[in-house]
Symmetry: C2
Subunit: 363 residues, 2 copies
Amino acid sequence: MKPGPTAQEVARLAKVSQSAVSRTFTPGASVSEDTRNRVMIAAKTLGYRPNAMARSLITGRSRIVALVMSYLENQFYPLVIEKLSQKLQKQGYHVLMFISDGDETDGVLDEILQYQIDGVVMASAMLSPHLARQCADVGVPVVLFNRVPDISAFARHSTSSVTCNNHRGGEMVAELLLERGHRRIAFLAGLEKSSTNLERERGFNDALAQAGAAVYRRAVGHYSFERAQEAARALFAGPGERPDAVFVANDHMAIAVMDVLRQELGLRVPQDVSVVGFDDVPQAAWGAYRLTTVVQSVEAMVEATVELLHEQMREDARPRNVVIPCRVVERDSVRAAGAPAPAPKPPPKPRAARRGAASRPGA
Amino acid sequence: MKPGPTAQEVARLAKVSQSAVSRTFTPGASVSEDTRNRVMIAAKTLGYRPNAMARSLITGRSRIVALVMSYLENQFYPLVIEKLSQKLQKQGYHVLMFISDGDETDGVLDEILQYQIDGVVMASAMLSPHLARQCADVGVPVVLFNRVPDISAFARHSTSSVTCNNHRGGEMVAELLLERGHRRIAFLAGLEKSSTNLERERGFNDALAQAGAAVYRRAVGHYSFERAQEAARALFAGPGERPDAVFVANDHMAIAVMDVLRQELGLRVPQDVSVVGFDDVPQAAWGAYRLTTVVQSVEAMVEATVELLHEQMREDARPRNVVIPCRVVERDSVRAAGAPAPAPKPPPKPRAARRGAASRPGA
C-alpha cells in the first residue's frame, strides 16, 4: 500500500493535537464531541485512515482473531465462519482464516502467532500441547470449537472450549430409535479419535446399555463423504439380517449413507432403515433428505465462543469448557411412532445406479 | 499478546547482528546458510517469533489478502474460501475474512484498508466506484471473483476480475435442452442485477433466439433457497401447459426447485421436467439430486485470481478480466437423448408433503 495522508496532516487541518487524532480513532478513548467531529471531517477530506497495524504495535491488541479450520466440505463449518465473522465484526474484530491440512496445524499456528493476534478459535483442527503452551506463554487465549482439549493436563488447563452436549445427544438418538422399536441399530463413526465422535458414541452406547441393548454393527466413516459410503456398504452387506436403523456421527456422512441405501441398495428410508445424523446442517432439511438429526446451535456456540474469548483476554481468567444443550429435530428419516416394524426381508442385491431413470418424488 | 523475546536477544544469543536476524526472517532477503542456522537455533531456544505487524510497517507489505463475501449459504463460496486460503498460504500469504451484509460493503472495505493489506478479493459482494477509486489511490489491487466490474468507466479501469464464461454457459444449457426436444423452457433468475445472472440469461436467450425459440416463462429466485422455491411454485402454477424444462441460474436454487417439483408438485425429474443448474457445487453430485449443471472450476478461478493479485501488485500493471471456460456435466436431471417426449398432462394438483411416508429410492 502506498503511504497516505498522515495523522499529522489531519491534526493540522482540524486544528487539534495529533494525540486528539489518535484518540478519535481509538475505540473507547476519551475525546470531546466537538474534537471528534472536526477530526472526522478533516480525515474524510484528506482520505485519511488510521493504521491498524501501527496501532496494534502500540496497544498490543490487533483486533484480529485467528480461525483455524481444516474441513470445509462439512457444511457445518462454513456456517461457523459466517456467524463468527459477523459477530466479531460487530465488535470491531476481524477474522484471519487459516486452513490447516490436519497434520500441519502446528506450522499454521506458528505463523499465526507472528500477527500479534488477540485470540485463536480452533475448529476442526487440534492443538498440540506444545502449541497450547506457546499460546499461553504469550498470553493468546485459545478457544476450541466443537471439540474438547486433549487429555494432556496442560492443554486442559490452558485452553477453553465450546461444544454441545455430545454425550446427551448420543443418548437421545439411542432413546429415539429404541422407542420406535428398532432392534438392530448400527453406528457409523466419524474420526474415531475426535472428541465429538468419542462423546456421541459413548452416549449412544450408554443409553443402549441402560435399555439392555447393544450396538448391532459398527463401521467408520472418518467424517468423509466417500468413506462414509464405503462404510455404509460394509454395514449393509450380508450375511445375517441387515441393520434396521443407523446412527451416523454427523449429517454430512448421513447424507452419503442415505444415498447408498436408496440409490445403490434399493432400500427405503425410513420403512426399511431409519437414519439419524448429527449437527442439523441446512442440507438436512432439504426435501430429498429430510434427515432427523441432533441440533447443535451454531448461533449459541458462536455466542459462547466470543464471550469466552473476551473473558480469556483478561489477565486473571481461567480457561472454561462451555457445554451447550442439544435437541433432536425430527424430520422424515426415522420410522414414525406407532408404525409397524417392516416384515424381515433378505438383504437386497446391490443395483448399479441407472442413468437417465426417474428421480422419484419423496412424499 | 505479551511481549516476547526480542530480535536483539536472538542476535546476542546467536552472536550475529540484529540486521542478520531481521534478514533471516524476511522471505527473499539474502543471508548466509551459517548465519541462518545460528539465528534459527537461537530463536527456537528463546521462543522468538518475528513480528509480522512490525515488518509490514517497514516493508509496506503485510502478506495479508482480504476476502470479502456475503453469501456462504451457497456452497460455491465455502469452496472458494478453502481453495483461496490454501493457495495463498502456500505462498506465505494469509486471508482476512470479511462478511459483508450486502449493503455494508463500503463500510467493510473501509476497515480493511486500515490493515495495510496487499490485495482484496471480492466474492459475492460489489465494489462501489467510490471504494474502487480509494483502493486504486492507495495502490491496493482488487480482484472481483465471479463477477465483472460495474459499468462505470473508473471501476472497469481499476479492478481486475475472474469469471467463467457465463454467456457461453447459458448458451450451452439452451442448446442441450433444445437438442433433447424441449419446447417450453423456463428460466429462473438469480439476482437480476448481478453480472453472473445477466450473462447467463443473455447467453441462454441468445441461443434460444438462434434456434428460433424463446423462453417460455420466467421467475426470479434472487439466489435464495426459499425465494427460489416460491419462484418455482409460480412457474409451475396453471393455467396453460407447464414448462417441460427449467434452467435455474445456480445449483443452490436448482436444488430448491427440484424439492418443490418432486415433493410438493408430484412431478418426476427428468420425465416430467428437466432441470439444469449452474456452478457444479459438490451437492449437485449427491445421489438424491444428480443435477446436470455447468461446471465453473473453482480451482481454475482461484489460480487465476492469485496470479492476477500478484500481477496487480506491481506498479506498472493494468487491470485485466480473466474468463475461464466452462462445460456442461450431465447427470440425471435432464431427459436422456432419444427419450420420447412425455405425453402432455394437465398441471398436477399440489400435494402437501406427507410426513413419515417413504423416501423412494432413485435409480
